[in-house]
Amino acid sequence: MTEQLVEPTAPSDGMPLPESHAEDAHVHGGVHDPNLHHSPEEIKREIRVYLWVFAGLAMLTALTVYACYGLRTPVHVAIGIALAIACMKGFLVAGFFMHLLSEKRLIYSILGLTVVFFAILMWGPWNHWADMIGR
């Protein structure tokens, strides 16, 4: 398979590239690559966001440990708190560190399919638990 090169339409604005790629960095085969489009200012702004996310993750970790371990909460309360906070932390990691807040549609499709199969995996124990309650 050979690459279809399209002439660049915008000036070079970000990540340093080797000469072989410098000219066709921005538009390639009619597709824009977001990683090649960020200016140094934008990347520095991203770094600040990453540090805020880190602070958020650290605070949420401390909160989970305090609520579930420090206060010795009853088991059902601990499960609720721990799962809610874990979901928030998961959102921060996936959304910001893994850039899922601004990804391509194909990746969302793959993850959508993964969620369906994951839900099937969770349906088994859920069904079992519902049976136990009904018994």
Binding site: P18, F54, C68, A86, I110
Partner: protein
């Protein structure tokens, strides 16, 4: 055909630029497909955990005997390593190889520290006579944390490669090297994500 044309013919396509049909460079699509399979792997184990826990008449609470302070420290270590990966990647995008490599080295150190702490935890459990055969909780504890630990070890190996022999690529193709770090970083964030759910499930609930 001259030497340049011959080189171009054997060049792996779409390592830097996105494919027109997917909008992604191939490595990125590949890592997301791999991560989808990893979700199913850990998902099956979490499913087993829920099934065994809801079936059991009694279930121990991890904090009664596991080392919560050490596991909390490990959580901070792992989220710190996620930050060092993105900082390394960001510095490479800024064209700064030196700081990119420093942050990758920090990631490796933090990951190693995580495994050392885990080793202390395992040692303590063995000394106390809590083995995988002790009960369902301990079997799940060792299976889940052991598999996660293997993923951490895998990440260390990948980052060691990127830090030393793999970094030669920077001189030839900076964008491709930067993309490789992004891909390794995505894997590493997934390892962090798994721990975010493992930690409360085993230690706090």
């Amino acid at each position: 055909m001259d030497a340049h044309e011959a080189h171009h013919e054997f060049e792996i396509p779409y390592t830097v630029h996105p494919r027109p049909d997917t909008g992604l460079y191939n490595g990125k699509l590949g890592i997301w497909l791999f991560l989808a399979s990893e979700v199913m792997l850990f998902g099956a184990l979490f499913s087993s955990y829920i099934l065994l826990r809801t079936s059991a008449p009694t279930w121990p609470r991890g904090w009664e005997f596991l080392n919560v302070p050490l596991a909390t420290a490990n959580t901070f270590i792992l989220i710190s390593s996620s930050v060092t990966v993105v900082l390394g990647w960001a510095n490479l995008r800024l064209g700064n190889l030196k700081w990119g490599r420093i942050f990758i080295a920090c990631t490796i150190l933090l990951a190693t520290l995580f495994l050392i702490n885990k080793g202390f935890e395992y040692h303590h459990e063995f000394v106390e006579g809590r083995l995988p055969s002790t009960n369902n909780f301990m079997a799940l504890y060792f299976t889940l944390t052991g598999l996660h630990g293997l993923h951490v070890l895998g990440g260390i190996i990948v980052f060691l490669y990127m830090l030393f022999p793999g970094a030669k690529m920077w001189g030839k193709d900076r964008a491709r090297y930067t993309n490789r770090i992004e891909i390794a970083g995505l894997y590493w964030h997934f390892v962090d994500l798994v721990w975010i759910f493992l930690f409360p499930a085993l230690y706090l609930m």
